[in-house]
């Protein structure tokens, strides 16, 4: 997707004030950033706001991007990840405040995955079934700790290599690998438990 020279030229044009080049960058990366945000934050609405924030941040700091220091994709993903961390911290604070007012059963998170799956169990056809399976996996993904969640999203959904993930997360490659495996295994356990309860 990323031709380093093409992207470097685009960035230079953007910094020089070329709006068409900026549109090209938005065109190239909006889908990817939206998907990372959606899988991490869980909702389309949050993903849309976060993606917009990522681009605003990118637009403001584009001149600080150094081609020599790494791929543009890694830079973009780092901005996205940092904003996701901020978002997670903020929403965690909100949840803490909220939980003082509401009983746990009222919480969306308090609903067991098995209850969610029970509503959707009888699937009419394969496409509905696969869509519902997708929803289940997506819901289970939200149950992972943010460290494991971001690791599996970058590896299994965004196909990034370990070295780049390590750069984005600012942890050693070994830690990245370990988090990916723990994340995958944890997700499988969550889904297996869900299916066992349903059957």
């Amino acid at each position: 997707m990323e031709d380093a020279q093409v992207v470097a030229r685009l960035v230079r044009r953007c910094v020089a004030g070329d709006v068409v080049a900026w549109e090209e960058i938005v065109q190239r990366y909006n889908r990817r950033i939206y998907n990372i945000c959606y899988r991490f934050a869980g909702s389309g609405e949050n993903a849309q706001d976060l993606t917009q924030e990522v681009f605003i941040k990118m637009f403001r700091t584009l001149s600080s991007y150094d081609v020599e220091r790494g791929a543009f994709m890694t830079w973009v993903t780092t901005i996205t990840r940092n904003l996701l961390v901020d978002h997670f911290r903020k929403s965690k604070q909100d949840r803490v405040t909220e939980s003082l007012d509401t009983t746990p059963s009222e919480h969306e998170d308090a609903m067991p995955l098995s209850e969610k799956i029970e509503d959707k169990a009888p699937a009419a056809d394969m496409s509905v079934q696969s869509r519902e399976t997708g929803e289940l996996v997506h819901t289970a993904l939200q149950k992972l700790s943010p460290e494991l969640r971001e690791a599996v999203i970058l590896r299994d959904l965004q196909d990034m290599d370990y070295k780049d993930i390590a750069k984005v997360l600012k942890v050693p490659e070994g830690t990245v690998k370990s988090r990916i495996n723990r994340g995958r295994a944890e997700l499988a356990r969550l889904l297996q438990r869900t299916y066992r309860q349903v059957m």
Binding site: W22, Q52, G134, R184
Partner: protein
């Protein structure tokens, strides 16, 4: 877990090779040791199975489609500039008139080719001349016709404007006839000289104050557009020609 080696591989080593195994980059004797360890180790075996299943679940997730407004919103939020695509779409809407020009071309093609023949040229010339005079009296400039906006909303607006102009045109005609009759009377009384614009203006002014003018009609038209048409009647060549024609006939 990390302690006892099974099939020449410790659990920690197995863990380190897990990614490579799942990425299918592990080969040869290392892969064989890995598989053997997974078969016998009560911890590593299930871990491998779970990680493999988790990876498959994740890989089954399809990429989601961002909302169609996302890119536009980003561009507006960052540059305040609207996407080129939006501009292109708007351009596409503007070409709505193209099919109409397409239909009109074959309809008018024979007329146009006929008009090129000398014997018809004169009649067409006369017809076009009187048509353009009628239009200009109605306040429509022939040179502006190609700029007419053909979007539905604009057509509606143009319809009402034109209707207003036509009403005004007929009222102007009545007014012109009155001027003509006054001029004829004036000519009878005075010398056979052709009335000067000044005189006609005076006539018109008299007329305007004396009788007919309906205030409603003036309010329908913008002051700047209406008044000069009436005031410049003798100075305006086409209108002047019309009065001369009528006077001659």
């Amino acid at each position: 877990m990390a302690g006892e080696p099974k099939n020449g591989l410790q659990c920690a080593e197995f863990d380190a090779l897990l990614n490579e195994a799942l990425d299918a980059t592990l080969t040869g004797p290392k892969l064989e040791s890995f598989k053997a360890h997974a078969r016998v180790c009560a911890v590593c075996g299930p871990l491998f199975a779970e990680a493999d299943a988790g990876r498959r679940w994740l890989k089954s997730l399809a990429e989601v489609e961002p909302p169609v407004t996302l890119m536009h919103n980003i561009l507006v939020a960052t540059t305040g500039y609207e996407s080129q695509r939006v501009a292109v779409r708007a351009k596409g809407e503007a070409s709505w008139a193209d099919p109409i020009t397409g239909w009109l071309r074959p309809v008018f093609a024979p007329v146009l080719s006929m008009s090129r023949q000398p014997r018809f040229a004169m009649s067409f010339g006369m017809a076009f001349f009187s048509l353009s005079i009628s239009l200009s009296l109605a306040g429509v400039k022939v040179s502006d016709v190609r700029h007419v906006d053909l979007r539905p909303s604009a057509i509606k607006r143009t319809y009402y404007e034109t209707t207003g102009r036509v009403v005004k045109y007929y009222e102007n005609i009545r007014f012109v006839y009155e001027i003509e009759s006054r001029v004829r009377e004036f000519k009878k009384v005075t010398a056979p000289a052709v009335p000067t614009p000044k005189e006609q203006n005076k006539e018109k002014k008299d007329n305007n104050t004396s009788g007919q003018p309906e205030p409603r009609q003036e309010r329908n038209y913008s002051q700047g557009e209406n008044q000069p048409v009436l005031a410049s009647l003798p100075n305006d060549p086409p209108v002047g020609t019309v009065t001369t024609y009528r006077r001659l006939s």
